[in-house]
């Protein structure tokens, strides 16, 4: 499917702590409307709809905005849903199931909303909860972190650079919750533990927001107004949800998805000019960059201690500030990496525009 489909428009609503009184469907509809306008595509041209699928089936989302697509699916890969949905949309276009596909995700968090919903009885309630896991998704990443420190000598001082560099990138991003609030390494290291080794400033903040992109065939893309952002390759892999069930706690599923994507595109890790990588916690971000082959396994600590990864630097990563500085609107959070890659490749990133903007690797 190399180059068969392209992203031709996008919209991102500013990430906020809450969107009081708004609904998830309304946020998706607003972002979708704006993405269609950005692409110069009429609603009637949308014949495919790909969504996250866990919170809402595709049908009520299409119904809400008056769409009657010929191809729908929900991808249900949690935080990776935005990148997965983008890949599936490209597959649908390549296979001829649809020509112009809308991908939209949102989170309408209200003030005081807890993380997630109560677990159904099963593995977690019987064999994990009696031992007191940490808040949100922190537990598994704390385990990954301690193991990575042990196996590779990674330090918190090194990984604090991830939070600091991303915050620099967010300073002038009007969509970021933490815009205009610079931080230093010591701020990260002095922030409180949520669960050792994870500190507050190494964790995402739960937020609300919504985004959408429009993809269409390479042929149709040529007649539209934006520079097309071609999907050259994609890989969608999965491993055990419970981190402790993975053979290696310090290896992510990116060890399998990245080679598929890069192989399809016909590029190697050293060809990549900038990266937008999932960042719910500094440690997962670090492990995924290693597993994609962008940094040798185990060298991520020294890499971040010695590399400028801001949009001004030699290898820009998460140029919009990522989820760590923009906030995480639930499963829509990871979608921002697709949106920012699109913005950069279209040459529309403003003050944070990177110079080498032809080839980006995105991880959801």
């Amino acid at each position: 499917m190399r180059g068969a489909a392209a992203i031709v428009g996008f919209a991102e609503m500013p990430t906020r702590r809450t969107y009081e009184g708004r609904t998830a469907l309304g946020l998706m509809a607003e972002a979708s409307r704006d993405a269609m306008a950005d692409a110069g595509v009429r609603k009637e041209e949308i014949d495919g709809l790909v969504v996250e699928g866990g919170s809402f089936y595709p049908a009520p989302i299409g119904e809400y905005m008056g769409l009657n697509p010929n191809f729908v699916t929900g991808v249900s890969t949690m935080g990776a849903s935005g990148a997965t949905a983008t890949s599936v949309a490209a597959m649908a276009i390549y296979s001829g199931l649809a020509t112009t596909v809308l991908v939209t995700l949102s989170e309408a968090r209200q003030a005081g909303s807890p993380w997630g919903s109560p677990p159904t009885p099963g593995l977690r309630t019987e064999f994990e909860d009696p031992y007191g896991p940490a808040v949100a998704a922190n537990t598994g990443y704390g385990l990954m972190y301690s193991r990575h420190m042990h196996e590779y000598g990674t330090t918190q001082e090194q990984l604090a650079n991830i939070a600091v560099n991303q915050r620099f990138n967010a300073l002038e991003n009007e969509n970021a919750v933490f815009r205009g609030q610079p931080i230093e390494i010591d701020d990260v290291l002095n922030s409180r533990y949520i669960n050792y080794p994870i500190r507050l400033l190494e964790s995402v903040m739960p937020c609300a927001g919504g985004s959408a992109i429009i993809l269409t065939s390479a042929e149709r893309a040529k007649s539209l107004k934006n520079n097309p952002v071609y999907i050259l390759g994609a890989g969608i892999a999965c491993d055990p949800l419970s981190g402790w069930q993975r053979e290696r706690l310090t290896r992510s599923v990116v060890t399998r998805s990245a080679p598929i994507a890069l192989g399809m595109a016909g590029y190697g890790p050293s060809d990549i000019q900038f990266a937008q990588f999932y960042d719910c916690y500094t440690i997962l971000h670090a492990v995924c960059l290693e597993d994609a082959g962008l940094v040798p396994k185990g060298d991520i600590g020294p890499f971040f201690a010695s590399t400028d990864t801001t949009y001004k630097g030699e290898f820009p990563i998460n140029t919009d500030g990522g989820q760590l500085s923009c906030g995480q609107p639930g499963d829509a959070g990871g979608f921002r990496h697709v949106i920012e890659a699109t913005r950069q490749i279209m040459g529309r990133a403003g003050v944070r525009q990177v110079e080498r903007n032809d080839l980006c690797l995105v991880n959801g």
Binding site: E128, P130, G132, A134, A136, N138
Partner: protein, 144 residues
């Protein structure tokens, strides 16, 4: 033994509280006897945990519950300062860990009888049993 235990029980309605209860019953009956039993596949001979109806390696249903030594190592750990469930707040910070049993299976537990920040990855540990209610006993681990 206390009757004032307020933190989450493995199966809130008791051992038969869910359909999972019957299936995992041998594990909890053993902890109550202060013994650790883990499922082993009779076909491929591997130990595995959490309990399943099929072996996750070869998908055989020819399984048995086999006693294990209760010895293992801290494969990874995290020190919980902000628990998901506020009923753990007064205990925090405490150690939540992946224990790699000598027989090969891994389980989640707490490492106790040690200052949390003195815990190290790969340190040897041994099972201890905490009778939290008349019905339930949790297996935890302490430095060996």
């Amino acid at each position: 033994m206390t009757t004032e235990y307020t933190k989450p029980l493995p199966i809130p309605g008791g051992l038969h509280g869910t359909t999972l209860g019957d299936f995992t019953k041998p594990f909890w009956e053993a902890t109550k006897r202060h013994e650790l039993v883990i499922q082993r596949c009779r076909q491929c001979d591997k130990f595995f945990f959490y309990p399943r109806e099929l072996c996750p390696t070869c998908l055989s249903d020819n399984l048995e519950w086999a006693p294990v030594s209760g010895r293992g190592r801290v494969h990874a750990f995290t020190i919980v300062y902000q628990p998901n469930d506020p009923r753990f707040n007064e205990e925090a910070p405490y150690v939540y860990a992946v224990i790699q049993l000598d027989e090969g299976a891994r389980m989640i537990s707490n490492v106790i009888d040690i200052e949390p920040h003195d815990v190290e990855v790969d340190m040897p540990v041994v099972a201890v049993y905490e009778d939290i209610t008349p019905e339930w006993t949790l297996v935890k681990f302490k430095p060996a």
